[in-house]
Assembly symmetry: C2
Homo-oligomer: 141 residues x 2
DNA sequence: CGCCGTTTCTTGACTCATTCAAGAATTGGC
DNA sequence: GCCAATTCTTGAATGAGTCAAGAAACGGCG
């Protein structure tokens, strides 16, 4: 994806096209599941003088617009990805915190259908699988 | 549940029985989904001079032993509950952060079966439903 | 093309849940 | 009861994230 595509995405969401936002979108695209600090570093390769606040603001704006997804497993800082709207889930390593994507094996899982529960109106189901990644499995025997 | 039951639980998990731990276990049992500050308050009704550190330590020990479960939806502080091992899930209100339990409608959902993915060995699936609680639905129209 | 109101960015201070550390007190096996 | 190991108290530190005020950039409009 080039910057033109990112600009398109922003305009399509009625967001102003600013250099920090384009850079953040690029950084998140190229660093799936990266935390804010990593994204900040990647953004500064494109735009050396952005403030961390601009990155936080951009991530919040992009999240609110549904262009990026914010994920935050227990015990982890916030992480972001651009793969949205395809109902995929995540596996998280208990040992090192690594995250990988998992496509939902079943097209639509019965358990995940939006419904009313306890008076709540549910609009999204988020699934996190907890386990151990290959590297940690090996190093721990 | 009385303190004797809590002590039993602790001994059963090979944990030392200390007054802070018994009080924390009682506080978590009576305050499902409470955050640490609420738990600290509830613990101090039983044991006025506990340090916050003792509560953190106890919660960590109880979590590690599987007696309490720590949950932490994005944007929320850590919360705890004693209902463990029955594969229930949570609905979280996007507006006010309220949490309620949801029993898995389907006995065992196909999508949630532990398996190997991306080299990960999965041992648990955690589901969080996001939506709006009844109160917030009303007050927001 | 240049102006203007609005949104966004910069700078810098601040919050607060959680963690760390050192020494004192408890626990439970003997 | 006594002792070693664990846990608790006290108090300071960490660090992701937020807040606030003023400067700059965006983009619609004439």
């Amino acid at each position: 994806m080039g910057n033109a595509d990112y600009e398109q995405l922003l305009r399509g969401a009625s967001l102003r096209v600013t250099r920090p936002r384009v850079a953040v979108l690029g950084a998140v695209t190229e660093n799936a599941h990266a935390d804010t600090e990593t994204i900040l570093g990647a953004v500064r390769e494109r735009l050396p003088d952005v403030s961390h606040q601009a990155v936080y603001d951009s991530l919040a704006a992009l999240s609110a617009a549904g262009i990026v997804r914010r994920i935050q497993p227990s015990g982890s800082v916030a992480r972001y990805e651009t793969r949205v709207g395809d109902n995929h889930h995540h596996v998280v390593c208990r040992s090192c915190g690594a995250i990988a994507d998992v496509d939902c094996a079943v097209g639509h899982a019965p358990c995940l259908t939006a419904s009313d529960d306890n008076g709540f109106t549910v609009d999204e189901a988020e699934v996190i699988y907890w386990g151990t990644c290959a590297d940690c499995s090996l190093s721990q025997g």
